[in-house]
Amino acid sequence: MATSLEVDQLVQSERGLISRELFVNEDLFREELQKVFTRAWLFVGHESLIPNPNDFFSSRMGDESVILSRDETGQIHVFLNSCRHRGMKVCRYEQGNTSLFVCPYHSWSYKTDGRLLGVPMYKTLYEGTLNRADWSLIEVGKLVNYRGTIWATWDRNAPDFVDYLGGMKEHLDLALDCRDGRPGGSEVIGVQKWVLPANWKLGAENFLGDTYHNPSHRSVDLIGIGPSAGAGKRGRRDDQYKKATHVWVSFPAGHGVHSALQSDDNEYAESYLDHPQIEAYFRHCFEERKRRLGEKSRLLPAVGTVFPNASYLGLQPRGICVWHPNSAVSTEAWRFYLVDKDAPQEVKEFLRRYYMRYSGPGGMTEQDDIENWLYATAASSGTIARQYPFNYQQSLNVAKMNDPVPGEVSTQISEHIARAFYRRWASYLKDAPWDELLGKSGVKGHSAAV
């Protein structure tokens, strides 16, 4: 176990120095699993994956398999996917509907609310010893259905999810809400899962507002793969933010976002030139959202990461990516693609094609990100390499509090979010109390440099 002093040496966030050990060291990785992933709120799935009673979806929390299930009464649960008898996975299907999870090993069976129901030869072998009620599937400490997304933590003493989010909430909502401003209302149209040989934090950090990595995407920017590429436009995305003030915002619990504040006139920018129908739909959504939210509609999402490993792209291509830790140098990425449930069919069709050409392992944009993470990991594993920290000194002492939006804000590209992310990571490694994890007390150096 790393001592407090060692953690402070690894994470010198005020100086903008983060040790490479965080990205390659297997001992630190074990420690993260124990101290970060057993306490922090983690993304598990989406209600649209389990719409009916007895529906389930196999998911992950940290390096462990969990089942997201909806019981007979419609209540949502998250359980460890492991039989209480000998640990066999009780569910080996990705998604479906079942009244029972039957363990293939000795046939102990569990209801979709987690209760142990069947124990073969119970009367002869267990009567008087085994109380079934004590051997339900292991359930998470807390869970929440937040605007359709399901999050859970193993820590019963964790703060409620909304308190955990703090000021991040407003930005996450931008990714989860309907394009016309109605709260929630999204659905998952597909999940991609793939393994990349890099540390999970490189993915999480990329979505913390690392806008600086734009040069990685030069190839797609040159050829144009965006929603107006067929009409001859270069670039990989739409043009909605061309008149906006970009904001990079850090929140005390370790979350961070890159969002955009539209100019005062808050006018729609043509973005879907390939398809007049799609253009008309998104223009309609934009105007409708403006009408519904008023001044608040000026804030629009780009990317963000909810500490520790749930990232979103809030504009198109819209979705949530979870960076599941496999080892210090291996990550299993799960990307959940989101659309408005009641969007017209032609909009969904357009979006799903855009999503696949942009994101995930077949996505022309994301491929170049993943290449970077792999070789950054590989080239940081050496004995000499590990002695030299990564540089996080970008825009040191630039961010201000609550200007022009709540949080620690920079209006230029900035690594203050990453610095705060690792500062918070260090608090978890030191077993800090929840007040400190939320940034409410005793965080050394918290306000000294942002």
């Binding site: 991609q192 899962k193 040989p197 030069r218 793969i225 799903r352 491929q367 993943i370 792999l374």
Partner: protein
Amino acid sequence: MSVANAQESVTAQWLLQQEIADFLYAEADLLDERHFREWLDLLAEDVSYFMPIRRNVKFGQQPELENTISGSGISWFDDDKWTLTKRVEQILTGVHYAEEPLSRVSHLISNVRIIRASPSAEGAQEVTAKSRFLVYQNRQEYETNIFAGKRIDVLRRAGMSWQITKREIVLDQNVLLAKNLTIFF
């Protein structure tokens, strides 16, 4: 059918199978030799290039639920010719870092069988062929991927040669065990 006619029909099947196999080998060679633009020329303007995601489903549900379907939801690829052309253009920029420097790739295509030929094997205008692929990819020094699976191709006669109008690539993996899919199948 007379014996002679039956023999002619078997011969036509054989010839067609060999012709299609030769076409698929030559196509694979274009990819492995990195003649990407020439490879695009083998794809019909209305080509559908599709790689489903394979899911772990309960016995009996495989036909409906194991593979994602073309035309709905998310797969690994569900591309049209425009998108495939973009993928080629991206490689040819020289700054698509996930393919710069280029991967070394070999496509081993085998088990080629004609599933359907219309109107008939003799003078076929459209052919459905099934095959197996084993694709070896190596990049930089150590990064190596092996992709194995089935392909179902629909080919349309184009003069002396063929064009691919439909390709379904059924990769035998659930979680993708490669970091990227930067190559063509």
